[in-house]
């Protein structure tokens, strides 16, 4: 029996959701953080979308948000010219890092001792979280606002994407540029998979896959509409992408074939990420919602329940109900 995807809508934000990130898998499950233009980033359980808490403190739109691997710390980048570090268990603000312009991106090293930030002042900054009073190290080079910055190669290198249409690879110890990729159009998003050292880049209608160490091109795939974000499944068999036509697309990574597309959002999709176990992917949209989508449609996981044909007519104490694909926020 064919099953139709039922996305789970996470409401709560009042403005567009512009970034989202998953933690690693912790003894308490895995978690999701969303950055929103309403200035109130939220943390949720990654497998159900249940709200855990809201990080209160920013005075402007939050453009970037991230969790460390064990979800004990969160970091956010905002239009109030600060990046903040939070205790992701208590929700308390732990550090405010002042910048000279809008901060767009934040990323922890694997051991959470160093925070990378980037934004409209065109500088990459490295904050030592063990000695937060110390001035950050700064890396200059980009000629326009930095959109995304990530640690890669076991935190020995840094990848940054900026509005100057370049992606640059930097060496952490020398702080020098190692390599550069030039594009004809602005890069809309970047994702890094440590396992396999793959970089996923989106620009225009294209999703590009690169070797993160050499920046050599692996392959490109074109989507039917301009794409704002894409994510590669941890097993590297599928990838998903979303953009300006409000839809989520699922492609076969090996054959580049478009497998499925899903409607659901009421606005452009700004960000999409696979969960660390690959069982679902989350999308954030201009419509102010996050939606969770199943990788294997119909499988029992999280709040989704596989209903066998025999069970459909039965009274069930679990109160199963079907919901239409478009759930109102």
């Amino acid at each position: 029996m064919a099953m139709r995807q039922t996305p789970l809508t996470c409401s709560g934000h009042t403005r567009p959701v512009v970034d989202l990130a998953f933690s690693g898998i912790t003894p308490y499950g895995y978690f999701l953080i969303s950055a929103c233009k309403d200035g109130k980033p939220m943390m949720r359980h990654g497998d159900t979308g249940d709200w855990i808490g809201t990080f209160l403190g920013h005075k402007g739109a939050v453009w970037g948000a991230t969790l460390n691997t064990d979800a004990t710390k969160a970091a956010t980048a905002a239009a109030d010219f600060t990046a903040k570090v939070w205790d992701a268990v208590s929700g308390d603000e732990v550090l405010t890092l002042a910048h000279k312009h809008i901060v767009k991106t934040v990323n922890f090293t694997k051991d959470s001792t160093c925070l990378l930030t980037g934004g409209n002042d065109k500088l990459l900054r490295l904050y030592d979280l063990i000695n937060p009073e110390a001035a950050p190290q700064e890396i200059a080079g980009h000629t326009s606002a930095i959109k995304k910055a990530l640690w890669c190669n076991n935190d020995k290198q840094i990848l940054s994407a900026a509005d100057d249409k370049t992606i640059r690879l930097w060496d952490r110890s020398s702080m020098e540029e190692v390599k550069q990729l030039k594009f004809d159009t602005a890069v809309s998003s970047m994702e890094y998979l440590a396992d396999g050292e793959i970089l996923v880049i989106t620009y225009g209608k294209t999703i590009g896959f690169y070797n993160a160490l050499s920046l050599d091109l692996i392959k490109t795939v074109d989507a039917p509409a301009p794409i704002n974000s894409a994510s590669l499944h941890p097993d590297k068999d599928f990838f998903v992408a979303g953009g300006e036509d409000f839809k989520l697309y699922k492609f076969d990574y090996g054959t580049k074939e478009e497998l499925e597309s899903y409607k659901g959002h009421f606005g452009p999709v700004h960000c999409v990420r696979f969960s660390p176990d690959g069982e679902l992917y989350a999308s954030g949209s201009e419509d102010g919602t996050l939606r969770l989508w199943q990788t294997a449609v119909g499988k029992t996981y999280g709040l989704w329940k596989c209903v066998l044909p025999e069970e459909l007519g039965l009274e069930n104490s679990e109160q199963l109900y079907t919901t239409p694909p478009e759930i109102k926020a």
Binding site: R4, G57, L303
Partner: protein, 140 residues
């Protein structure tokens, strides 16, 4: 192309996947991070002052906890004794205002005040955002 995923929705009589319930949304009255959750209880034994703190010394812990309890109690008693008194608030951007203190909300995010004296007049009732307050003084 006609048989791509998007178009099959028109012909697809497939059943939508069942869902146990919808994801829980935010609590309008609190910022969350439930202190009764297993994760909080397990990981928040110590108060984490800065992200720099690593494993807290086991002997230090009860001392720190006691100190925090004392400070918290003092703060709460201070708020109680401030009720209906005139309080001067020193805030960011060199703002100094005076008002009659009413109450604080549970997360100490806002103070409810009356007769807030501002450079542009007296506001009968107002909320002061605690994030913006540097210090406040009053005669007890």
């Amino acid at each position: 192309m006609l048989l791509s995923g998007a178009n099959t929705e028109r012909f697809n009589m497939a059943t939508p996947v069942s869902v146990l319930r919808l994801p829980k949304g935010p609590d309008p009255n609190s910022r969350g991070f439930d202190p009764k959750s297993p994760r909080f209880i397990a990981l928040c034994r110590t108060s984490i002052a800065t992200s720099a703190s690593s494993e807290t010394n086991a002997e230090q812990l009860p001392i720190e906890q006691h100190a925090r309890s004392v400070l918290r109690e003092t703060f709460l008693r201070c708020l109680l004794s401030m009720t209906n008194k005139k309080v001067q608030f020193l805030m960011h951007e060199r703002v100094k205002v005076e008002a009659t203190f009413g109450a604080s909300d549970i997360d100490v995010l806002n103070f409810q005040v009356s007769d807030l004296h501002t450079p542009i007049g007296v506001q009968k009732e107002a909320l002061i955002r605690c994030q913006d307050v540097i210090s406040f003084t009053f005669d007890s």
